[in-house]
């Protein structure tokens, strides 16, 4: 039967979901970061993994990330509805029912954890389960609406994927995977607060206690510089572990010098000047922060490839 009866059309939701809406629930852009960092964590580990098992493991780590995204969209539908940036998401726009998002999130959580356990090992699977719990419960349900430190502590869930990738290969944790975690963990606050500086009105409207809303822009600018100062030695220090080498060190030195300069400029900026040029420096810093993380992890991967070819490493 290829036709729809008039009553069916009348009673169908005006914005019935297509497949793409369910994909959007999984936050594909966040998933791409998860895929990339988990892949680097797995590839730079000192234990080789069968390529099919490696690809499957990364896929299920990404699916776990997507599941937590769906749970986040289920719980945050009320504030997403208020914010311009998120109002067109599947749940606030009415294309997907909240219960569907919750069901999809829970089902994919179970599938991803189970399949990662079968594909890689149960330590990695337990780590993935903890990460989903951390993002959905600790960040989304608890911290996001209660403290301006929400993205600092909640950022841990975005920093776990390279550790899970490493655990897939080695079955455990080591200083190298902890350094990769710390790199993302301390990168997250300057990255998000730079975004919050030019998206402030939205967070204010939604009542999300972003640092810019609770403590003002001056304090946020100070905090961006503070976290960038803490981040630099961690990023440079990671280059001295077994996953680093001369190339990683050179990349870390250059990237952190630029990142520090950018953070210092933001710290010195006057709010009136920033408003006048529509937060050009803050936008530039935000864009650079994306390149910063991507290039750091690319350097780890290239170093590992060089090491395998008899170059690279210490």
């Amino acid at each position: 039967m290829t036709d729809l009866r008039a009553s069916e059309i009348t009673h169908a939701a005006p914005n019935e979901a297509g497949f793409g809406d369910y994909v959007a629930l999984l936050k594909p852009r966040v998933m791409s970061l998860v895929v990339f960092t988990a892949m680097v964590g797995l590839l730079v580990a000192p234990v080789s993994v069968h390529p099919f098992v490696a690809a499957t493991s990364i896929l299920f780590i990404a699916l776990g990330g997507g599941a937590s995204g769906a749970l986040n969209m289920w719980y945050d539908a009320d504030i997403d509805r208020v914010m311009k940036r998120t109002a067109s998401r599947p749940v606030p726009s009415g294309r997907v029912q909240p219960g569907e998002a919750l069901g999809l999130g829970l089902a994919l959580s179970g599938i991803s954890v189970l399949m990662l356990g079968l594909a890689a090992n149960w330590f990695a699977a337990a780590f993935l389960a903890f990460t989903i719990f951390f993002y959905a419960v600790v960040y989304t349900i608890w911290l996001k609406r209660s403290t301006p430190q929400n993205i600092v502590i909640g950022g841990a869930s975005g920093a776990f994927p390279p550790m899970i990738g490493w655990a897939c290969a080695t079955g455990g944790i080591s200083i190298e995977s902890v350094m990769m975690f710390m790199l993302i963990f301390f990168w997250t606050p300057p990255h998000f607060w730079a975004l919050a500086l030019f998206m402030n009105s939205d967070y204010e409207k939604a009542g999300v206690p972003m640092l810019t809303v609770t403590h003002g822009r001056k304090v946020t600018r100070n905090n961006i510089l503070g976290y960038t100062v803490v981040l630099a030695p961690i990023a440079i220090g990671a280059a001295f572990t077994s996953i680093g080498g001369p190339l990683t060190l050179a990349v870390a030195l250059v990237l952190n010098a630029f990142f520090l300069i950018g953070a210092y400029r933001i710290r010195k900026r006057d709010e009136t000047v920033a408003q006048a040029d529509n937060y050009a420096a803050e936008r530039k810093f935000f864009r650079f922060s994306l390149a910063y993380l991507f290039l750091h992890f690319t350097a780890f991967m290239v170093e590992a490839a060089l090491k395998a070819a008899g170059y690279g490493g210490w």
Binding site: T2, D3, L4, A12, E16, A17, F19, V53, T56
Partner: protein
């Protein structure tokens, strides 16, 4: 059929969305089956499943 001509009802927007959902779900399920099959083949050929079986049946010690 009217006057020897066949009339098709124009496809409604809802048709397209439902078709995309069905097609997407079908592809995801087919992909999942292929993935589990591939994983099984890899585990069997690399002997990982056999190792697990030996460990279980011999109380963790290798024969």
């Amino acid at each position: 059929m009217m006057n020897g001509k066949v009339f098709f009802t124009p496809e409604h927007e809802l048709h397209k969305r439902r078709f995309s959902r069905n097609m997407g779900l079908g592809l995801v399920l087919a992909g999942f089956v292929a993935l589990v099959f591939g994983l099984t083949v890899v585990k069997v050929t690399t002997g990982e499943l056999q190792e697990t079986y030996s460990q279980q049946s011999h109380g963790g010690s290798q024969p």
